[in-house]
Amino acid sequence: MGIETGVDLDRLNEVARGLERTLGSRLPGKVHAVQPSEAGSVPA
């Protein structure tokens, strides 16, 4: 959308995945659940 947040979003998603590992539980957010290799890909 071209809106500057100043936040490294890939890194933020990695932090969320790390928190899931620490807590031993899936978190309800959706974006971090998409692995980097999947982001932007289109299923065949």
């Binding site: 947040t5 928190l19 978190l27």
Partner: protein
């Protein structure tokens, strides 16, 4: 011409973890907050000075802040009362958050006080914090709907916001605490508030309970809101509202 920008305040370490049943060790919390700051977030709400009896997960507030003294200027701490302010000051905190509900029903469940009583407390906290140069931000919970009183009118939110602004608070977040807001309502409320109190910096805090958080965020953006609160991985929800996130 520069790109439009927003500020994202990360509240997960406080708002997210407060409802997490299993205690997270202090070093893990410190690591989480450090990682969030390293992502470029300018402010992180690190913990709360609530009594541990009410929120055991945050009983280590002072220890968390002690470990983060070198980054204390980028941390915000929720302060529920005068005692909490004293604890925050002792911990070297420079930015606190206070909260009040738009309805007496929710405020009684969340803070065990009426809205008027909490606004009086906030006025005292704001005055004392101001003397020490501590910035005070506020949120108005259940601004879009209340689990105890149902629909909340913009006029009611405005009444509360006017008292906060008159007390010198310059940053107010409107919270959809139970995730019932819709984009049209978001647009209507923020437009009304910006018109009534143009000097306030308005923020938005949405929950995705019904999957409408992104749509609501876009509606807020369109009204010119540039301050948003979020929780890492979508963790959290009110301890006083049934099943929110």
């Amino acid at each position: 011409m520069s790109a439009p920008s927003v500020e994202w305040v990360e509240v997960g370490p406080r708002d997210g973890l407060q409802s997490w049943a299993s205690p997270l060790p202090t070093p893990a919390k410190v690591g989480l907050i450090t990682s969030l700051l390293d992502c470029g977030l300018r402010r992180v709400e690190a913990t709360s000075m609530v009594h541990p009896k009410w929120v055991p997960q945050l009983a280590d507030a002072e220890a968390v802040l002690e470990a983060l003294q070198d980054r204390i200027d980028r941390l915000r701490v929720l302060v529920p009362n005068r005692r909490g302010l004293d604890r925050a000051k002792d911990a070297g905190v420079r930015n606190i958050a206070v909260t009040v509900a738009a309805t007496d029903g929710y405020n009684q469940h969340n803070l065990n006080r009426s809205v008027a009583e909490t606004l009086k407390d906030i006025a005292e906290i704001g005055s004392l914090a101001g003397r020490d140069g501590i910035a005070v931000d506020s949120s108005i919970s259940v601004a879009f709907g209340c689990p105890y009183e149902g629909t909340v009118s913009p006029a009611r939110v405005e009444e509360v916001a006017v008292v906060l602004a008159d007390g010198g608070i310059r940053e107010i977040a409107l919270a959809d605490t139970i995730g019932v807001a819709n984009p049209a309502q978001v647009e209507e409320l923020f437009q009304a508030m910006k018109q009534r109190l143009p000097s306030v910096r308005w923020g938005a805090h949405f929950h995705d309970t019904r999957g409408a958080a992104v749509a609501n965020l876009l509606a807020a953006l369109e009204t010119g809101v540039s301050l948003f609160e979020g929780s890492i991985g979508g963790i959290g929800g009110s301890t006083s509202a049934a099943k929110t996130r």
